[in-house]
């Protein structure tokens, strides 16, 4: 897939009022969604050497729900509100905001998601105990991707 193809696809989506589209070509994946008259692109690219541990995204789930396919999580979770990079601390040498087992309040900061250098402090939004951290520090995350498992108090 090259830039021209990508442009063409985006044009087609716009012109034909396609509400939602997902496309995969090798390890390049594109998901677009139309909101109102303004298309919002949700896009990811794998790191240059795609880590073999992470399975290639599976076929779109049939639910047609709001979110792009994400690892199936049964427990309640804190999700990413945007595409970006996940950081567990405010700077490389600072302590992580939270560790597994920590109790958090609804307004506790649990991580930062960065995109285009905007640092977004993510709040827990519920009071409870962090049971599992689902993403490695400095890894890319998608819109709606679960970041932490939390056991509401």
């Amino acid at each position: 897939m090259d830039f021209k193809d990508l442009k063409k696809i985006i044009e087609l989506v716009k012109e034909n009022d396609i509400m939602e589209l997902e496309l995969q070509d090798g390890d390049f994946r594109l998901a677009t969604k139309l909101r109102g008259n303004d298309p919002v692109y949700v896009t990811t690219s794998a790191a240059p050497q795609a880590p073999s541990a992470s399975p290639a995204p599976s076929a779109p789930q049939a639910s047609g729900g709001e979110m792009p396919p994400a690892p199936k999580v049964d427990a309640p979770s804190i999700k990413s509100p945007m595409v970006g990079t996940f950081y567990r601390s405010s700077s490389p040498d600072a302590d992580p905001f939270v560790k597994a087992g920590d109790l958090v309040e609804a307004d506790s900061t649990v991580c930062i998601i960065e995109a285009m250098k905007v640092m977004n402090e993510i709040k827990a939004e519920v009071t409870g105990r962090i049971t599992k951290i689902l993403v490695e520090n400095a890894e890319a995350v998608e819109f709606g991707q679960p970041l932490f498992e939390i056991e509401p108090a």
Partner: protein
């Protein structure tokens, strides 16, 4: 109240363009004594305004002082959202972004501003230190309340970079370019940095704090050694001394216009302006991703979310939301 009186005195003296204004004319609207006016004028002088007084004639103002004080800022920013919020100016602070966050949490209006001459713990992205010297740099942060989804806030740094670039261009500083997404460069050297921090729920933004650090009148030898090759100031670039008040006013007026578009969901012009002034698109770049891996290739363009389209040496297109370009 003293703020309002100072503001009125300044406004009146400025309007009379260097001619005398009687003490009576200044005191009347507030129904206060002449002595009280004299006290406010002393306060203004301490801030750097050159005000002459005469027992019989009253007061007059000399020149256009380059003073960053709430009174002068409210005047210069009249009609914009920045004249409607809190304005806090301090000589020294830890970080204007942290102060602005505090204001945001206290519920301040959109457009509230924090300025400082020196930042002790001025931060760049991921905790990097930004250098600020006594009054040479323009350091300010603002509180915004974007009526946008968190995802679209990725365009905010691009908007701010365009606003600063255009403001400088209008004042006569040519040749400022933008490196993706928001670094401001002249001749390959950095003259300014922008740090946007937001606090969000899953689907709405509680507040955004935008911090701008611009090297204005810094001399070449005032930068620490490790920055002497990579940093630059407006003075170094143009040979002139600049008024921080003029620059700030121009930037904020431009931003006010652009935010009006952005908050209505229209980023088209902003994206076009960014594309016109970028130094990144079309060039060979090396991107260092946050996890340390690198991608080499050609930067093609940005998409409508502000993410960078990079074609690597194997012809594969990457869409990047993070990474350092060099």
């Amino acid at each position: 109240m003293p703020h309002k009186i100072k503001q009125y005195i300044l406004q009146t003296l400025r309007a009379s363009e260097g001619t005398w204004v009687s003490s009576e004319a200044l005191r009347q609207p507030f129904d206060i004594s002449r002595a009280a006016i004299s006290k406010q004028v002393r306060g203004l002088r301490e801030k750097g305004y050159r005000i002459e007084s005469s027992p019989r004639k009253g007061y007059r103002l000399f020149g256009r002082a380059d003073v960053l004080a709430p009174e002068s800022l409210y005047l210069h920013l009249e009609g914009t959202r920045f004249a409607k919020g809190t304005i806090k100016v301090s000589e020294v602070t830890q970080s204007t972004n942290d102060d602005a966050k505090q204001l945001a949490l206290e519920g301040c209006a959109e457009g509230s501003l924090v300025l400082a001459d020196i930042q002790v713990a001025g931060r760049g992205r991921r905790g990097r230190v930004w250098f600020g010297n006594q009054g040479d740099s323009l350091l300010f942060s603002m509180v915004l309340r974007p009526p946008l989804e968190p995802m679209r806030c990725g365009l905010l740094p691009l908007l701010v970079a365009v606003a600063v670039r255009e403001a400088l261009d209008k004042l006569g500083v040519k040749g400022v370019g933008i490196k993706w997404p928001n670094d401001l460069l002249v001749d390959g050297r950095k003259i300014g940095g922008i740090l946007c921090e937001i606090s969000t729920d899953f689907d709405r933004v509680e507040y955004a704090v935008v911090g701008v650090g611009l090297n204005v009148n810094n001399e070449a030898d005032s930068f620490p050694d490790e920055l002497s090759e990579t940093a630059c100031s407006l003075k170094m670039a143009t040979g002139e001394t600049w008024s921080r008040l003029d620059i700030l006013t121009e930037i904020l007026r431009k931003m006010d216009q652009m935010l009006r578009q952005a908050w209505s969901g229209n980023f088209r012009n902003i994206l076009e302006d960014w594309r016109r002034s970028t130094l990144t698109s079309g060039n060979r770049v090396t991107t260092t991703l946050p996890n340390g891996s690198k991608i080499q290739g050609t930067a093609l363009d940005i998409d409508d979310s502000g993410a960078l389209l990079l074609k690597d040496d194997h012809g594969k297109i990457h869409l990047l939301t993070s990474g350092e370009i060099s």
